[in-house]
């Protein structure tokens, strides 16, 4: 693209605190306005698909669990769904509730993680501290269930690896009470805040048409009025046996993505509560004995916190896949920046890029670009200054 005389380019990445996975964005700006964005990925290709094809099905589950450090049960779930899809295998009812419980707890902690970082990016550090503080009990619940706060190692083809005994169900119930009350408080505080709303409404809008054309998934598409949710569309595990609503907003902006995630946290606590109740009464095995997988093809997917995780396996009757395709939700959500970032002020670029939740790095290493006046331009500072201006306008 030929740059106009007034245009400048600002690189973001490949290593940036916004992005857990290294990616590169080149923003073209005219004055304060972003007029174009170019994306470049492939900085950290780890060969998971190829390695998985050298592993047995059970070994692959552990491998794909390490694709993402935040939502580490989404890939194993999609992977076992894909292998089970080859032979249309069913799983025991108790295993279905355990799978769903883990999946929804992961959604709560992932959305709280995003909420905290989003608050930090726009200068709401109280929200950040709250969200991360109350994420902690959710990680404790994982520890009670699996022994680990992350990488739980629970999924198996045909069920789950470990049961949750009655004492632990009771302990989980108690922790969920705490989580429930705190997330209700955070959600209400965030949604009722006039500064937060003024700061985020109409920012980085992704239209419904663009979301459909670019095949966006998860909260990114649901905030643009597209009601796609794997949990309802293809209700595997216990999703067909629990009551919950799919949250959809129509604005398409960062505020709508925030609202979708906040309300999804409440829906997830509802689902967790139902799963725990069922685990008190539904008894039986947790793992079916799967002797072999036939030659064939299988598609597995799961609604991860960021959207649909997709796995495809092609098998030849042996104990491993001859082709294992993995598609994470960020892969289809990141290209939506080409629609949502154009025309926005540069102070909104940071939160717009962050709004699809493309996995964050925990180390703050914001890019700084030298200005002509020997000063610096810092996305984080720009974003926080804009919030402060709105706060002063509202509160005086």
């Amino acid at each position: 693209m030929k740059l106009s005389e007034n245009a400048n380019q600002i690189p973001v990445g490949p290593f940036h605190p916004l992005l857990e996975e290294a990616e590169y964005f080149n923003l073209t700006v005219e004055g304060e306005t972003v007029v174009d964005i170019d994306m470049d990925i492939g900085w950290m290709h780890r060969g998971h698909e190829f390695i998985s094809e050298q592993k047995t099905f059970t070994q692959s589950i552990f491998l794909v669990e390490r694709i993402c450090g935040i939502c580490s049960t989404s890939h194993p779930l999609a992977c076992v769904h894909a292998v089970e899809d080859v032979d249309n295998l069913e799983i025991p009812e108790r295993a279905a509730y355990i799978r769903t419980l883990i999946g929804e707890l992961e959604r709560i902690h992932s959305h709280l993680l995003w909420l905290g970082l989003a608050g930090h990016f726009i200068g709401y550090d109280t929200l950040w501290m709250w969200a991360w503080k109350y994420r902690e009990p959710v990680l404790q619940m994982f520890e009670v269930i699996s022994g680990n706060r992350n990488h739980y190692g629970m999924m198996r083809v045909g069920g789950v690896a470990r049961d949750v005994d009655p004492d632990r169900v009771k302990a989980l119930d108690n922790i969920l009470d705490t989580v429930d009350s705190k997330v209700h408080m955070i959600v209400k505080a965030a949604m009722d805040d006039p500064v937060l709303k003024s700061r985020l409404v109409g920012v980085g809008v992704l239209s419904r048409e663009d979301a459909v054309a670019m095949c966006a998934v998860g909260p990114t598409s649901r905030a643009s009025g597209v009601p796609w949710d794997v949990r309802k569309d293809e209700p595997g595990d216990a999703y067909g046996m629990v009551d919950f609503d799919v949250i959809v907003q129509n604005g398409g902006g960062v505020w709508d993505k925030l609202v979708v995630r906040l309300l999804e946290i409440l829906e997830s606590t509802r689902i967790c509560r139902q799963c725990l109740e069922k685990l008190k009464t539904v008894k039986g095995p947790i793992l079916n004995d799967v002797k072999e997988i036939s030659a064939g093809e299988g598609i597995g997917r799961y609604e991860a916190p960021r959207g649909e995780v997709f796995h495809y396996v092609r098998t030849d009757g042996s104990n491993r896949a001859i082709r294992h395709k993995v598609r994470a939700p960020s892969y289809v959500n990141i290209p939506t920046f080409s629609a949502s970032c154009k025309g926005i002020p540069i102070a909104d670029a940071l939160i717009t890029l962050a709004a699809v939740d493309p996995c964050y790095c925990c180390t703050e290493r914001a890019l700084r670009v030298k200005g002509e006046d020997a000063g610096t331009i810092d996305f984080l500072t720009l974003s926080r200054e804009k919030t402060e201006r709105i706060r002063r306008e509202i509160h005086g």
Partner: protein, 146 residues
């Protein structure tokens, strides 16, 4: 219209262009000729409202195969058109990106890893191995079948 009816309607509309149809619960895999691909994709994406989940290239003994996975979300059903290219050294097929903008990255990735050239792709360049330190002279995943 339930899941079975949706599949039946698709087969009725496009059945004469499909071969090697594999019908499973919620899944329909079929082979299409390259010249019919865009018409099938238009029907799936524009008429039926399917969403492209992704596409998968696979090297088999006698061909490179590209399998597109279209999700029909209201019914939870997958429609998967497959294109087979027997010229493994120089696989060429039509891009579906002009119809489905969301296919841009995955087609670039398949060009990257399997060397598949997509005709009429708006941005025919590498995606993941663009700045690979090894200065690749052949696609990363090609030639893995023993």
């Amino acid at each position: 219209m339930d899941r079975s009816d949706r599949t039946d309607a698709f087969l009725q509309a496009c059945g004469n262009k499909l071969s090697d149809v594999i019908r499973k619960r919620k899944r329909l895999y079929f082979v299409v000729r390259d010249e019919d691909l865009r018409e099938i994709v238009r029907y799936l994406f524009l008429d039926m409202g399917c969403r492209l989940s992704t596409a998968t290239a696979t090297e088999v003994y006698d061909a490179i195969e590209v399998l597109y996975q279209f999700s029909h979300d209201p019914s939870g059903c997958y429609f998967c058109p497959r294109v087979r290219m027997t010229d493994k050294e120089n696989p060429v097929m039509h891009s579906i990106t002009p119809v489905v903008p969301g296919a841009e990255w995955i087609e670039r990735e398949m060009f990257d890893f399997w060397g598949v050239t997509f005709r009429d792709h708006p941005r025919p360049e590498r995606l993941l191995a663009k700045d690979h330190p090894n200065h690749l002279d052949k696609p990363l995943r090609f030639g893995r079948v023993s």
